[in-house]
């Protein structure tokens, strides 16, 4: 069958990124043709400023060399501008007469510099700043002429001015507004920036309006005249007064355009065969000019071109950074403020630091930072995710560092770290290694960094720091989609939420069925997605879905915890941390009989037998005569208790008994991640209830329940949920919350992250406000758990025997013949 034809007009970053995403999804679906008006393969337009400033070369900024196009069998027409789209014949025509038929057309024509409509704008020496050609013209001009005038004090104008100054020209920036970067900075920060640039030798005229460009005899510009009559010499005029979506081609072909080619949330134009991405597209009234939104558009467009039909582009919150070495500024969101907004300001003009945070309804909605931008990424995250900042408001201005550094989840200032500083403590990866990988391989996400360098791929506590390094290295090109919204793994485009929903809606109960229904790209998934799918199936359809041992991590298959030498550890259940002489005797006997190298107390008030050989496991369990303590699984672990009322002179309730009852209720419970509980008999909290998934603290008048605590990588204090009076209520509320977590959290999401994602209000609405819903959740938990066998008992009875019995080599049967040797 002949492949459908995909033609792309425009060979820039947004377009080529769309092709890359498309090829990842469906490598062979289309016969692809690309037209590029420039003579270069796709390059990183953002890095033109460093090229102009002499910090990088044109070769450094090529993103896709010609060999990339060849490798993917893409027909590439460089130096050919498409001048016509014939939508009836479905053909595009280039200026040299080259024609290409299309079944799908992708417009990625980018933007054009806005050239001021003033007399003289056609003179020699008057240029925009858009591509390699313009950059080369500027570099060449700087060697022969002296006076440069940059019209426009925006990001592009300032970067051009800085570069020309570094190339030795005398540079004046002319700007229409009262201060520089008026769309990125407020007045105060704009003035600080101006002072700092003036110290570098740049001159500024503002507010100033250009009236005319004056030409000399040779037809080259010689001066700029302003509305107020002033005139300054100019051998080069760079128009950097904004960009306009380049939609002329689309408009001429009758596509609906309005300041850009108008597209819907799937990046489709009014002609369903034609898509548009990047700076030429107008999405919900906005034509984006920054790279991060364009890359988001590329992902969505590719998905639809691949025929998957999943994913919507719903607009972006953007942030900006100025790429002028030595000047740090950052802004995001609604940083100007205004009615209904509150502002927090820090201003130190002498020290060159200015920060402004804009808050609305207890949420951070904008940030403008100058001089110290180390917390930009954190603020940006708060803005994008709309977190309630009420609790941290006092400290907000002082940055994330100020909130505590345990787990350093990105709070260290990536930009100021030395190259040899270790970022990933698990795998020993330094900042320098990560930065090099980002630059050499064009990485744009933390996932890319994980894949390429292994940093953040183990415990993950440095993922935030990696994100900061990414932002500091590539700026706006960083893909900061939260992990929970990303596809589960490379096998699929679905994220955890859509997989969970599909399993429920389509009543999927087997992994192969789920993979088929959700169009998995790999025949049997991978070590990331299969355990997740298995959990989603058994938690959504208890008693219907069959657990698949081969899709479980070895610990959950062997029901013991694998150690570095391949032996296992065995932790028998001791409900509430309570044991007795008979159990201790059996444990001691087992330790002797199987020569167990270490017997150790765990943090969860149990006894750990370390160094057990796998083939001994079943016999060890049999001799112990105790239940599994599930110390190895994404499951209920233990309920830690203090002695409570029975013995303690401060105890207010029987916390030990409460712990035992909870552990009995939750026996054999699988969950998205491990679940730890604690019950303390008084607010002195000896069982450390404050850092447990569910922590219970007894008070004289009843029990207080706390949820979402965590003592792990980053210590998180549990949040108060409710106070109840009876033991039955403790069980019902605990059960209801845990069932909500089991049904709605994503695989490997701890309760604290689940709580952050869905919000306390949602949990209250499900577990507190609605008594009926609470009871339903509780009953579903009990239903899911009833009848589940103790896994050790099941294996003693013979289940999964092959797991524990090694094969032996029997006597040789026949020599290997020559021809059989590989």
């Amino acid at each position: 069958m002949k492949k459908p034809k995909l033609v792309m007009v425009g060979n820039g970053m947004a377009g080529v990124r769309t092709l890359e995403e498309l090829l990842k999804l469906v490598p062979d679906m289309y016969d692809i043709t690309v037209f590029g008006a420039e003579p270069h393969p796709n390059y990183n337009r953002i890095l033109l400023s460093p090229v102009l400033a002499g910090e990088q070369t044109v070769n450094d900024i090529i993103l896709n060399p010609l060999s990339w196009y060849a490798e993917h069998h893409i027909r590439l027409y460089l130096n050919r501008k498409v001048v016509q789209i014939d939508r009836q014949r479905r053909v595009v025509v280039a200026d040299d007469g080259t024609e290409a038929e299309y079944d799908r057309l992708l417009l990625a024509t980018g933007s054009t510099p806005f050239i001021l409509p003033v007399p003289g704008n056609q003179l020699d020496g008057v240029i925009g700043y858009r591509d390699i050609h313009d950059t080369e013209t500027m570099i060449e001009t700087a060697t022969r002429y002296r006076h440069a005038v940059v019209i426009g004090g925006g990001l592009l104008g300032l970067e051009a001015a800085n570069g020309l100054k570094l190339r030795g020209m005398d540079v004046t920036v002319v700007h229409l507004s009262d201060w520089l970067l008026e769309r990125q900075l407020d007045r105060t920060a704009g003035k600080l920036l101006q002072t700092s640039l003036e110290a570098r030798g740049l001159k500024f005229l503002l507010p100033k309006q250009t009236a005319e460009l004056i030409g000399g005899e040779a037809g080259r510009v010689t001066a700029v005249r302003f509305k107020d009559g002033e005139e300054i010499p100019a051998d080069l005029v760079v128009m950097a007064a904004g960009i306009r979506p380049n939609a002329a081609l689309a408009e001429a072909s009758g596509l609906y355009c309005n300041r850009g080619v108008v597209v819907n949330d799937t990046l489709q134009t009014y002609d369903p065969r034609i898509y548009a991405v990047g700076e030429c597209a107008n999405h919900r009234g906005i034509a984006y000019g920054l790279v991060a939104p364009l890359y988001e558009q590329a992902r969505v467009a590719a998905n639809h071109l691949a025929g998957f039909g999943i994913g919507k582009y719903q607009g972006s919150v953007t942030s900006t950074k100025l790429k002028v070495t030595g000047i740090d500024l950052f802004s995001a969101g609604e940083f100007i403020g205004g009615d209904g907004c509150e502002e927090i300001l820090l201003s130190d003009p002498v020290g060159g630091v200015y920060k402004k945070l804009v808050i609305q309804n207890d949420k951070l909605v904008g940030a403008c930072l100058y001089g110290d931008t180390g917390d930009g990424a954190w603020y940006f995250q708060l803005i994008r995710e709309g977190h309630d900042i009420h609790e941290v408001r006092d400290h907000l201005m002082f940055g994330e560092n100020h909130l505590g550094d345990a787990g350093h989840a990105g709070q260290s200032k990536a930009a100021t770290m030395a190259d040899n500083a270790e970022v990933c403590g698990c795998n020993g990866i330094t900042k320098g290694t990560i930065v090099k990988a980002i630059q050499e391989h064009g990485l744009t996400s933390v996932d890319d960094i994980k894949r390429c360098t292994k940093a953040a791929s183990s415990c993950g506590s440095c993922a935030g720091l990696c994100e900061q390094i990414l932002i500091a290295t590539v700026g706006g090109a960083a893909d900061l989609t939260p992990k929970t919204e990303k596809p589960i793994c490379g096998c699929t485009d679905h994220n955890h939420a859509s997989v969970r929903k599909a399993i429920k809606d389509l009543q999927l109960t087997r992994i192969p069925d789920a993979m088929r229904a959700l169009e998995w790209r790999t025949p049997n998934g991978c070590a990331t997605c299969r355990p997740a799918l298995n959990y989603y199936l058994i938690s959504t359809w208890p008693k219907q879905a069959r657990d698949d041992p081969q899709s479980r991590f070895i610990n959950e298959r062997a029901h013991a915890n694998i150690q570095k030498d391949g032996t296992y550890s065995v932790v028998p259940q001791m409900k509430g941390g309570v044991t007795n002489a008979a159990e201790l005797r059996r444990i001691a006997d087992v330790a002797d009989k199987y020569a167990i190298p270490m017997v150790k107390m765990t943090g969860g008030q149990r006894i750990d037998l370390l160094g057990v050989k796998k083939e001994d496991l079943v016999n060890v369990w049999k001799d112990l005569g105790m239940n599994s303590g599930h110390a190895y699984g994404k499951s209920i672990r233990t309920v830690k208790t203090c002695v409570g009322q029975e013995f303690c002179r401060f105890g207010t309730q029987n916390s030990t008994q409460m712990g035992i009852e909870l552990e009995t209720m939750l026996a054999n419970m699988w969950s998205p991640h491990k679940v730890k509980l604690a019950v303390s008999g008084c607010p002195r909290n000896c069982a450390e209830s404050g850092i447990k998934d569910v922590g219970i603290i007894a008070v004289d008048s009843g029990w207080e329940l706390y949820i979402g605590g965590n003592g792990g990588i980053k210590t998180e204090v549990a949040q108060f949920l409710v106070k109840v009076t009876s033991a039955d209520e403790v069980k019902q509320y605990t059960g209801a919350f845990l069932q909500l977590y089991r049904e709605e959290a994503f695989y490997l999401e701890r309760t604290v992250h689940f709580l952050h994602r869905v919000g306390m209000e949602y949990i209250q609405s499900q577990v507190l406000a609605n008594a009926e819903q609470r009871q339903v959740l509780y009953e579903r938990l009990i239903y899911s758990l009833e009848g589940l066998p103790d896994p050790w008992a099941a294996r003693i009875a013979g289940a999964q025997a092959h797991e524990f019995i090694p094969l032996t080599v029997v006597e040789p049967t026949a020599p290997v013949a020559e021809k059989e040797m590989a």
Partner: protein, 103 residues
């Protein structure tokens, strides 16, 4: 050295997308089976830190080491990028439903 075929087990004794271990003085051997009923045998030692590959999750022609998630190609014994390393491969065949290992 001349090698000989040794009978191990029946094909169905190895779980689909799973493995069995052959205990041996010269180092354990992991025998894998995928969902296409292809079988593979590797020295049961990850080239990274010696993890028992037999305990990993199997998919396609790959196994993930249970210790630090290195991915090892079952047909070549080589680690997949970004990791580097290789573990020894052994010849296997199935005859009349019996799995035979060349040693």
């Amino acid at each position: 050295m001349m090698r000989t075929w040794h009978t191990l087990c029946r094909l169905e004794d190895i779980p689909v997308l799973g493995s069995r271990v052959v205990k041996r003085a010269g180092g354990d051997i992991a025998v894998f089976r995928n969902d296409q009923d292809e079988i593979f045998a590797l020295h049961d030692k990850c080239p990274h830190k010696g993890g028992p590959l037999s305990q990993g999750i199997v998919f396609g022609q790959t196994v993930t080491c249970p210790l630090h998630s290195w991915q090892i190609n079952l047909t070549t014994g080589e680690a997949l990028a970004p990791d580097h390393g290789c573990t020894t491969r052994f010849e296997l065949k199935v005859e009349n439903g019996e799995v035979l290992l060349a040693l």
